[in-house]
């Protein structure tokens, strides 16, 4: 009895291994039937919903695109601070039914990659250029040119039309004017390690999965682009990175950089920060933030919006993209959450602080190079450069 069972198990095990190796090579074909049925039912629903919605027309009183009520699943890393709730309510007013998945940028990216064969998301917004480029390369996105595409300043949208900018965020090196006078502050990131005065006085992050830290690294490394260098960066560039980690102080897990720079007892006087986080921190920590504007400019993280390849609600997703990126909604978004809209016609809705941020010179960064190499850069840094 036991023997028989054991043999059966062995045979099944062998079969299974074969099935497994076969399975991974041909998932598409097997995936088809179930996906189609699901798609069909959804399509039928959408069609029905479309019919109802067509009569009130795509434009309403205030010129906004109207949704049909088909449920859209939206992935974002920018749904906190009540943004998600606000968006669900605001979108409902214009006929959209939105549900959310909200997580860090890296997690959203990983999740989209893992779900490639059976996407759950219809629309993604937020993230940054680096992530958008990588998603595009992985065939996760489909192109769509929203009605507001030409209201965005040049260079922010994807030229091939896969993603379009909605919000701009400057990535800054910040310090507290109460602790450090502007003339004593660094003038550029490179000052941090080339000028002895800042030795041990700036913070670096030990986790490299965040969007901000990756923009900082891209801002430094792309200055030393060299097709023949290691991972597209010259030896000098890597030397700079080595110095950056040698002379800095690692960030403390769970402690905000403002806890460091606002405290006179702590040696750290500056660190990285994204522009929209500054105002609330000034209130919280009683700091008077000033930021460094290097001659080469500051990196901008551009949050964008795109439609997910494999969505079963493509038309509704397009309507949502048209709606969300419009000057009207982006203006409201900016007033509500003090963001800096990418849409030219909405910039005047941004608050004074963001108006000022908008005037900072943008650093010229080769995002293609960054997207291609950033993962490898981070790996090398973690293995060989971080202390």
């Amino acid at each position: 009895m036991k023997k028989v069972l054991a043999t059966t198990l062995t045979v099944m095990m062998a079969l299974n291994l074969a099935a497994c190796s076969g399975g991974s090579s041909a998932p598409e074909t097997t995936a088809a039937p179930a996906a189609t049925t699901a798609a069909e039912t959804k399509a039928a629903e959408t069609a029905a919903a479309d019919k109802e919605a067509e009569t009130p027309a795509a434009e309403s009183g205030d010129g906004l695109v109207q949704g049909t009520g088909t449920t859209l699943t939206v992935y974002t890393n920018s749904g906190s601070d009540g943004r998600g709730e606000w968006l669900v309510e605001r979108a409902a007013k214009d006929g959209f039914d939105i549900q959310f998945i909200e997580a860090g940028g890296a997690e959203i990216q990983n999740r989209l990659l893992a779900e490639k064969n059976a996407p759950i998301a219809d629309v993604v917004y937020g993230l940054n250029s680096i992530m958008w480029e990588s998603l595009k390369a992985e065939d996760i996105l489909i192109p769509y040119t929203p009605v507001w595409a030409d209201e965005i300043p040049e260079g922010l949208n994807d030229p091939e039309g896969y993603y379009h900018a909605i919000v701009k965020q400057a990535i800054l090196l910040v310090y507290d004017e109460n602790q450090t006078a502007p003339e004593d502050a660094p003038k550029d990131w490179l000052d941090l390690w080339t000028n002895e005065a800042f030795d041990g006085k700036y913070e670096y992050l030990t986790s490299l999965s965040g969007g901000t830290v990756r923009n900082v690294l891209a801002g430094i490394l792309t200055r030393y682009a060299d097709p023949n260098g290691e991972l597209g960066v010259s030896a000098e560039g890597w030397e700079q990175i080595a110095q950056y980690y040698q002379h800095g102080v690692p960030a403390e897990e769970g402690m905000d950089v403002y806890a460091q720079i606002s405290d006179p007892a702590k040696p750290v006087i500056c660190g990285q920060m994204w522009s929209s986080g500054i105002e609330t921190r000034d209130e919280q920590y009683g700091t008077k933030t000033n930021y460094v504007v290097p001659e080469v400019g500051v990196p901008y993280a551009v949050e964008a919006i795109s439609i997910v390849n494999g969505t079963k609600n493509e038309e509704e997703a397009q309507r949502f993209v048209d709606w969300f990126g419009s000057a009207q909604i982006q203006g409201e978004w900016a007033q509500e959450f003090s963001t800096l809209p990418a849409n030219k016609n909405a910039v005047d809705k941004a608050n004074e602080f963001n108006q000022k941020i908008a005037t900072l010179p943008a650093q010229d960064i080769d995002w293609g190079l960054v997207a291609e190499n950033i993962d490898a850069w981070c790996e090398t840094i973690e293995l060989n450069y971080m202390q």
């Binding site: 099935a19 399975g23 097997t30 997690e107 202390q387």
Partner: protein, 573 residues
């Protein structure tokens, strides 16, 4: 399977069905989803590669971190073992005044952990901590950054990792038959001899099991090294976590995790051999519960009390500080300044003012309950087979169920999604991504090894004669299992349930990849609040949620474990 007959009785069919189910579960949930991850370490673009290994060996930082982890694990096993045993002796064996209060204090590690716990310790010993400030005032030259590096990590983790001792070792201690102690006393054995020769041997299976857990905890130390390790004592797990989130570096994460996994497995094999050799259990049929032993030497008695209460303070003060600091703001937390006059309810008001705030709690409670329940049942069945069969099948089953210990949670989550985002034979051609089921499955999977390890220890401590007696009286195997054996292991099973529940309640690593859009779990919700772009008060919110979770965990422990304790006493009498 001593009484097995080769005929298709319902019992045999039932046994086969269970085996088939377990085989399916192991293949579909443990082997298949993870095989590709492991494969990708050694085979890239179709060819065998040593590239990941070369990269790691070439990295001074990786090697140093790995060395640190392997240094921490054995030393932690020793220190935690020592403290853990003393906690159990203080609360259950010796007659120490105020043992009940002491026990509550020692059990605080059951309701909190990770970053929050270490932050609590930093309030006391860190650079601006209370003790540090006190020392600095007494000795002007006192280095304020003294609490850093290997010793600091070892100190924090020694006290943070005694949870398993407080539950499993304590359960074992309560199962010690007092008659054996009395008999030894009558034969003139001294207290030390009784402790070493009579009491400790009965604790051995549990002690082995919790020591393995401590070793694994030491290998995978994360929060303590991050917060108090300083530049000189960083461990490997933070690196694994960060690589596992970077798509291009997953091979490195898997390889490093396999390193740790291999070490764990080697240790487990050794422990399993020890377990097989010895058959430690108390043999009495009519057990008497232990009577607390007075320490007759007055000096020793005072010393024991002092030791007990110092431990109590070490355990309790961090919790108290976390609760107090949850009523302050991020700036005060950062500066570790506690001003009683500035305590405010604002944080809690902010949390509860949102109409939707309760929902993630509900989602996580439901998921954690279901997953902990399912894993308890699955492992009970598996343990029964492992204990009864003792053949190749049961060995294969046991090792297969330990697979989740080999890989970090993020990679297990990724494996599950990428495997079941298309219909597969092994999942009855059902696509799992996007369903509410997949997260339940994920939760279950990551809790299997721990549950197995501890449940097995309980099974091995079972008295075989109980089962024989039931059989002789004509009880069917199922009846024997449910009415005779289960009640005896139930306190342990319930305790594991509570621990799993508490562990899953705030889970982020698994949830973030699997949660259904309409069912956001607590861990993801907290992370989104505290990571938020414009909210600067995130550390205060982290504390508030930590306190709220402590409350839930405390309630669960009381309901499940506290009462399980009593019923156990009732059953045994």
């Amino acid at each position: 399977m001593k009484t097995k007959k080769i005929s298709m009785t319902p019992q045999t069919i039932y046994n086969i069905l269970i085996l088939v189910f377990l085989f399916w579960f192991v293949m579909a949930c443990l082997v298949l989803p993870n095989i590709n991850t492991v494969w990708s370490v050694f085979f890239q673009e179709g060819a065998f590669t040593t590239e990941p290994l070369r990269k790691l060996l070439g990295s001074e930082r990786a090697m140093r971190s790995l060395k640190n982890s392997f240094m921490l694990a054995p030393s932690l096993s020793l220190t935690v073992g020592f403290v853990g045993i003393s906690l159990v002796l203080i609360t259950e064996y010796f007659d120490i005044k105020g043992a009940k209060i002491l026990r509550l204090g020692y059990m605080t590690t059951l309701i909190y952990g990770g970053i929050i716990l270490v932050s609590g310790y930093k309030f006391i010993y860190g650079s601006n901590g209370f003790l540090t400030n006190l020392f600095a005032r007494l000795i002007p030259s006192f280095p304020t950054d003294w609490f850093q590096g290997y010793w600091a990590v070892l100190f924090v983790m020694t006290f943070a990792c005694t949870s398993n001792h407080m539950i499993f070792l304590r359960n074992a201690m309560r199962a010690v038959d007092f008659q054996t102690v009395e008999a030894a006393q009558n034969m003139g054995a001294g207290p030390v001899k009784i402790l070493m020769k009579v009491v400790l041997p009965v604790l051995t299976p549990s002690l082995l099991a919790v020591t393995i857990l401590t070793f694994i905890t030491g290998l995978s130390a994360t929060s303590a090294p991050l917060l108090v390790g300083g530049k000189d004592f960083q461990t490997i797990t933070p690196m694994i976590l960060s690589f596992s989130k970077n798509v291009g570096s997953r091979d490195l994460a898997a390889l490093l995790a396999l390193f740790l996994g291999a070490a764990t497995i080697i240790l487990l094999v050794i422990m399993m051999q020890i377990e097989k050799r010895g058959h430690y259990m108390s043999v009495s049929k009519v057990k008497t519960t232990i009577v607390k032993q007075k320490i007759h030497n007055p000096v020793l008695n005072i010393l024991a009390h002092a030791y007990a209460y110092i431990l109590f303070l070490i355990y309790v003060v961090p919790v108290v500080l976390i609760v107090l600091f949850s009523f302050t703001d991020s700036a005060s937390i950062a500066r570790r300044q506690l001003d009683l006059s500035t305590l405010t309810l604002n944080n809690y008001a902010a949390v509860f003012s949102k109409a939707t705030a309760y929902k993630p709690f509900l989602v996580s409670i439901v998921y954690s309950t279901l997953a902990s329940l399912a894993v308890a049942i699955l492992v009970l069945v598996a343990c029964r087979i492992i204990q009864k069969r003792r053949d190749k099948i049961s060995t294969a089953l046991e090792y297969s169920l330990l697979i989740p210990w080999l890989l970090p949670t993020t990679l297990i989550a990724m494996g599950l999604i990428t495997t079941y985002n298309t219909p597969r034979f092994w999942m009855f051609n059902k696509v799992l991504t996007g369903t509410s089921f997949i997260m339940f499955l994920g939760y279950m999977i990551i809790k299997i090894p721990f549950t197995l390890r501890m449940t097995k220890a309980a099974f091995f401590a079972l008295d075989d004669s109980l089962e024989d007696a039931a059989k002789n009286l004509g009880a069917k195997p199922l009846y024997t299992f449910f009415r005779v054996l289960l009640p005896v292991v139930l306190p342990t099973v319930l305790a594991i349930f509570a621990l799993n529940f508490n562990g899953l309640l705030g889970d982020y690593d698994m949830s973030v990849f699997m949660y259904h859009p309409l069912r956001q779990p607590l861990g993801v919700y907290i992370k989104s609040l505290t990571d938020s772009q414009t909210n600067a008060d995130n550390s205060a919110l982290t504390f508030v949620y930590a306190v709220l979770m402590m409350i839930i965990s405390g309630i669960v422990l009381y309901l499940v474990y506290g009462r399980g304790d009593n019923s156990k006493l009732g059953d045994n009498k």
